[in-house]
């Protein structure tokens, strides 16, 4: 009898704990209201030139950073940039540690499953990176099929390599993929063309690497929490910003080719 009472006690306590958690669950506030009430839009980024990076004084600038600042201004809130671990971007959003992922994020099915995305605003390519010394052998999509790849785990690059049917090792991030190529543990890496332009070649530690083939065309979007009304808000803002010519001006400022920017309708 005593044992039964003990068990009953434990069960009741657990039930109470659960009731407490569900009891104080979210009220029905829209995401826009939530951000405006708090007065700050927390933008999740990684250090990624030319989209989000720091100037000499430590201020965040870049194509995406400047867009985010303009969007926050329109919402009437302050903007705050928060460096995140890219693997945890969905956690960061749902855990409300950040309000938006805005960092040259390729729209893929995996991304769309984890968050709600804005309209695409920028074109990108997945580029194959190999050692300079062998680059002239790998100039077509077919020629790279037999290579051993290193790609960022869960990245758009991985999807491309999977589609190609090539052998690959998933690594922590795009730079780790480059490291594999440089160290000779992989033949080739696949990274974003915008990033490739900034990190590979003369003046970097990857001077002996170069990009050869573009595997696909893809598009960048901005990610919000599931069901957020900020998605429509941002799409409207993009349209306005594009039509006023500001978006192309911004692209020019950060040396992004005009053809990469997608017309906002």
């Amino acid at each position: 009898m005593k044992a039964v009472r003990k068990v009953l006690c434990v069960v009741l306590v657990l039930l109470m704990a659960v009731a407490c958690f569900t009891g104080c669950k979210k009220e029905n506030k829209s995401d826009k209201e939530y951000v405006q009430e708090k007065g700050v839009l927390v933008v999740g980024i990684t250090d990624f030139a030319p989209m989000d990076y720091q100037d000499e004084d430590g201020n965040w600038i870049g194509f995406d950073a400047d867009l985010a600042k303009a969007f926050a201004k329109k919402l009437g809130v302050k903007v705050e940039f928060q460096l995140i671990d890219w693997d945890n971007k969905a956690f960061e959003l749902e855990g409300k540690a950040i309000d938006v992922v805005w960092n040259g994020m390729t729209i893929t099915d995996k991304v769309k499953a984890a968050m709600d995305c804005s309209n695409p605003y920028c074109n990108n390519q997945q580029m194959v990176i190999v050692k300079k010394s062998v680059a002239d052998q790998y100039t077509t999509k077919d020629s790279v099929k037999g290579l051993k790849f290193a790609v960022e785990e869960g990245s758009a690059g991985q999807e491309q390599v999977e589609a190609l049917g090539a052998e690959f090792t998933p690594v922590a991030d795009q730079t780790a993929a480059l490291l594999e190529v440089k160290a000779g543990t992989a033949d080739a890496a696949v990274i974003d063309s915008l990033m490739a332009a900034a990190t590979v070649g003369e003046g970097t530690d990857y001077a002996d690497l170069m990009y050869t083939v573009g595997l696909n065309d893809e598009q960048y979007g901005v990610g919000f929490r599931k069901g957020s009304d900020l998605v429509d808000e941002l799409n409207a803002f993009f349209k306005e910003y594009y039509e006023s010519g500001e978006m192309l001006k911004l692209a020019k400022k950060y040396k992004i080719v005009e053809s990469a920017i997608i017309e906002q309708k």
Binding site: F21, C24, K25, K26, E27, K29, Y34, K38, V42, T46, D47, F48, A49, Y53, Q54, D55, E56, Q82, L83, I84, D85, N88, F91, E92, E94, G95, K96, A97, D173, Q174, T175, L178, L179, M195, A198, T199, V200, T204, D205, Y206
Partner: protein, 222 residues
């Protein structure tokens, strides 16, 4: 370029030191409290404490960080860590709890390793329980636990790097940033490897400190 990188690494190292110091400040006393719990004669408390120690020691610190930092935001209206330096405090709480559990076992070993005869001698001399603990047991325990504690403390120096999983910008994070592109430099590999020197230098200082401490305590030798 060198100065920019060093300045950035220094900033990261300062953050590492901050987490290191706060963790020790919190975990050293908390560990003692937990060790009392796990030696308690009140059975439910003893079992509760031992279960907590089991869970905390039995799961990866990385996982504890992720749960502690993100999960409150899943269930609540807003994330309680959305405060100034929230990521640091979340990391500090996880590290303090984690290290306190490890410390508590070292304390327990130290306390239970003091011969019972010493407490009995204290009783014979008419000392109170409190006096016996602080003046007899605790002092000898401290001497006994210096070597295992130095182990844990030096491990802590390097474990702080785990906090980068919740994007808290400590030393490794700062070094890694130059690979991805930071402060106008991208694709730099050496800053990451260079961070090793910071850890090495700091644990060198700690090793010297613990060596000195052990010598200082040696007059307790029975």
């Amino acid at each position: 370029m060198f100065m920019t990188v060093i300045r950035s690494l220094n900033e990261g190292f300062l953050e590492t030191l901050k987490l290191f110091a706060v963790t020790l400040l919190g975990a050293l006393p908390l560990g003692l409290v937990i060790s009392f719990g796990s030696m308690s004669r009140f059975t439910p408390l003893r079992w509760f404490t031992r279960t907590v120690v089991w869970v905390v020691r039995g799961t990866p610190l990385m996982l504890q960080l992720i749960i502690l930092f993100y999960v409150p935001g899943f269930v609540l209206d807003s994330n309680p860590w959305a405060i100034e330096n929230g990521r640091f405090w979340a990391a500090a709480v996880a590290f303090i709890l984690n290290y306190a559990c490890y410390f508590s076992e070292i304390y327990r070993g130290g306390i239970q390793g003091v011969p019972v005869g010493q407490q009995e001698a204290g009783q014979v001399l008419g000392m109170t329980k409190r006096q016996i603990f602080f003046k007899v047991t605790l002092l000898q325990m401290i001497k006994r636990i210096v070597p295992p504690m130095s182990n844990e403390v030096i491990t802590l120096v390097k474990d702080t790097a785990i906090a980068r999983i919740i994007a808290w910008q400590e030393l490794i994070y700062a070094g890694y940033a130059f690979l991805k592109g930071s402060h106008g430099y991208a694709g730099l590999m050496w800053p990451l490897f260079f961070t090793g020197l910071y850890y090495l230098a700091f644990s060198g200082v700690l090793t010297l400190f613990f060596g000195w401490l052990e010598k200082k305590m040696s007059y307790f030798r029975s």
